[in-house]
C-alpha cells in the first residue's frame, strides 16, 4: 500500500506546479478591466441567452451506454489476470458473458442508439 503514498505525493507536487504556473500569470500579467473584454467570445457576435443551454439527448444516451459497457470491461480485467489458471473453463464462461453482452449490443444497434443523425 505504501506506493499509493508516493502517488499522493506526486498529486501534491503536480498540483503545486499547476498552481504556481497560474499564480505566475496572475502576478505578472496586466490587469485592465473593460466591459467588452468580459463578454464571451462568439466570433464577434453579441451573445444572447445563457451559455449553458439544453443539451441534445443523444449525449445522455451515449453516457448510459458507456456505463453499461464500461462496467463489462471492468469485469474483463480480473478475468484476464487469472485466465491462465482458469483455462478452458474461463474461456467458456467468458464466451457466455460475451454472448449476453452482444445481445444487448445488437439490441442497442437495432434500436438506433448508436446512430448520430
Amino acid at each position: 500500500m505504501l506506493e499509493y503514498v508516493a502517488i499522493a505525493l506526486m498529486i501534491v507536487v503536480s498540483t503545486f506546479v499547476a498552481l504556481s504556473a497560474i499564480g505566475m500569470g496572475e502576478l505578472l500579467g496586466p490587469k485592465k478591466k473593460s466591459k467588452a473584454k468580459d463578454v464571451p467570445y462568439e466570433s464577434g457576435m453579441l451573445p444572447y441567452g445563457e451559455g449553458t443551454r439544453r443539451i441534445p439527448v443523444r449525449f445522455y444516451l451515449i453516457a448510459v451506454l458507456f456505463i453499461l459497457f464500461d462496467i463489462e470491461v471492468i469485469f474483463f480485467l480480473p478475468w484476464a489476470v487469472v485466465f491462465r489458471q482458469l483455462r478452458i473453463f474461463g474461456l467458456i464462461e467468458m464466451a457466455v458473458f460475451i454472448g449476453i453482452l452482444l445481445v444487448g449490443y445488437a439490441y442497442a444497434w437495432k434500436k438506433g442508439a448508436l446512430e448520430w443523425e
Binding site: V39, P40, E42, F59, V73, A80, L91, L114
Partner: protein, 384 residues
C-alpha cells in the same frame, strides 16, 4: 517504514524527475511538432530564436506569462479556475506507474524506476484516463460560452466512447502479459513484443489513444473552424497554456503507455539481448532503459504528428459510429482471439497455435478495413 525519511526523499525525487521530464518533453514537443509539420508542408517553421529556433518554446512561454488573464462574465469562477488544474494534474500523475528502467540495486537499496510500481497499474491507467475527462467538460461548462460548451460535450462523448475499446485493448495486454503490473508486462515482452503477437491490437490501441488525447484526425473538441478551439476558447494566458501543456503531456504519456504495453517499454529489441555479449541489454546496464524508452516515444510522437499532417479531421457522426460500430466489436473479437489462442497453445501443448493469434487478428483487421471501406463507398454512391 513510513517514518523513514529516505523513502520520502526517494518518492519526492522520483516524482520531481517524472514531472520535470514531462514538462521538458512538452516544451520540446511543441517545437518538434512545429518543425516537423513545417517540413511536411514545405515551410521552414520557427528558426529565428536561438540555434535552429530551439529557444522558440521559451519565447512562447515568456509571452504567455505576461498575458492578461480574464474570466468571462457570468462564468462559474471557481470551476473556471479549477478546470485547467483538473486537466493538467491527471496528465502528469498518469505517468506515475510507468517504469522507465528495470528494478535495480542502487545506493544500497532496491529502487524501482517508476514513481509507484503498483500491482494494478493498468487499472490505475484506466481510472486516471477517465478522470481527465472532467477537466475538459468542466472547462467547457464553466465558460458560459456556447462554443466551449459544445466542445466540452463533444470531447466527453468522444472520450468515453473510445474508452471502451481502450479497455478491451488493456484486457488483451493483460491476457498476454498475465499481470496488471506494468513492470511485469514489460518483462513478459522479453522474448517477443506484444505488437508482434497482436499487431491489430497495437494499431487499434494507437488509434484509440489518438482519440483519447483529442489529436488529429479526432480533434473534434477543438475544431478550429467550427468551434474556435472548443472548450478552451475563453481561456487566456497561463490558464490556456495549462490546457496546452496537458494536451502535449498526454501525447507523451500515451506514447509511453503504448511503448510499454506493446513495444517492450524500456527493454531493447527482443533479438538484441545477446548482441555484443549483452552489452546493449538493460539487464546489464539499467541506464539504457530510459534511452530505449525515449527512442520509442519519439518515434510514436513522430507518427502522431505525421498523422496530423496527413489526415483531415473526420466528421463527428462518423467518429462516433467508428468508435461504437467498428472499434468496439473489433477489440472484443481481438480479446476473444487472444484468449482462444492462449488456451489452444496451453491445452494442445504446441506453440504453433499461439502463432494463430497474429495471423487471425491480421486477417480480422483487414476484414474490418474492407467493411469500413465498403460501407463508406455505398453511402457515397447512394447520395450522389
Amino acid at each position: 517504514m513510513i517514518s523513514d525519511w529516505t523513502l520520502w526523499l526517494e518518492w519526492l525525487i522520483k516524482s520531481l524527475v517524472m514531472i520535470f521530464a514531462l514538462l521538458g518533453g512538452f516544451i520540446f514537443l511543441t517545437y518538434f511538432e512545429r518543425r516537423a509539420l513545417a517540413r511536411m508542408q514545405t515551410r521552414i517553421g520557427p528558426n529565428r530564436a536561438g540555434p535552429f529556433g530551439l529557444f522558440q518554446p521559451f519565447a512562447d512561454a515568456i509571452k504567455l506569462i505576461f498575458k492578461e488573464e480574464f474570466t468571462p462574465i457570468h462564468a462559474d469562477k471557481i470551476v473556471f479556475f479549477l478546470a485547467p488544474i483538473l486537466t493538467v494534474v491527471p496528465s502528469l500523475i498518469i505517468a506515475a506507474v510507468i517504469p522507465i528502467a528495470p528494478t535495480t540495486e542502487l545506493f544500497g537499496r532496491t529502487i524501482s524506476f517508476a514513481v509507484a510500481d503498483i500491482n494494478v497499474g493498468i487499472l490505475y491507467l484506466m481510472s486516471i484516463a477517465s478522470i481527465s475527462v472532467y477537466g475538459i467538460v468542466l472547462a467547457g461548462w464553466s465558460s458560459n460560452n456556447k462554443y466551449a460548451m459544445l466542445g466540452g460535450l463533444r470531447s466527453s462523448a468522444q472520450m468515453i466512447s473510445y474508452e471502451l475499446a481502450l479497455g478491451f485493448c488493456f484486457v488483451m495486454v493483460i491476457l498476454l502479459g498475465n499481470s496488471m503490473s506494468l513492470n511485469e508486462i514489460v518483462v513478459a515482452q522479453k522474448d517477443m513484443w506484444f505488437a508482434v503477437i497482436q499487431p491489430t491490437g497495437a494499431i487499434l490501441f494507437f488509434i484509440v489513444v489518438l482519440a483519447e488525447v483529442n489529436r488529429a484526425p479526432f480533434d473534434m473538441p477543438e475544431a478550429e473552424q467550427e468551434l474556435t478551439a472548443g472548450f478552451h476558447s475563453e481561456y487566456s494566458g497561463m490558464k490556456f497554456s495549462l490546457f496546452f501543456m496537458a494536451e502535449y503531456q498526454k501525447m507523451i504519456v500515451v506514447s509511453m503507455i503504448t511503448a510499454v504495453l506493446f513495444f517492450g517499454g524500456y527493454r531493447e529489441l527482443w533479438f538484441m539481448t545477446d548482441w555484443f555479449n549483452g552489452a546493449l541489454s538493460v539487464d546489464r546496464f539499467w541506464f539504457l532503459g530510459p534511452v530505449y524508452l525515449l527512442i520509442k516515444v519519439v518515434i510514436l510522437l513522430f507518427v502522431m504528428i505525421w498523422t496530423r499532417a496527413t489526415w483531415p479531421r473526420i466528421r463527428y457522426d462518423r467518429l462516433m459510429s467508428f468508435g461504437w460500430k467498428v472499434l468496439l466489436p473489433l477489440s472484443l473479437a481481438l480479446v476473444f482471439i487472444t484468449a482462444v489462442g492462449i488456451v489452444l497453445a496451453d491445452v494442445l501443448k504446441s506453440v504453433l497455435y499461439f502463432w494463430s493469434i497474429p495471423v487471425v487478428s491480421i486477417m480480422l483487421g483487414l476484414f474490418a478495413v474492407a467493411v469500413v471501406q465498403w460501407s463508406l463507398r455505398s453511402k457515397f454512391h447512394g447520395r450522389s
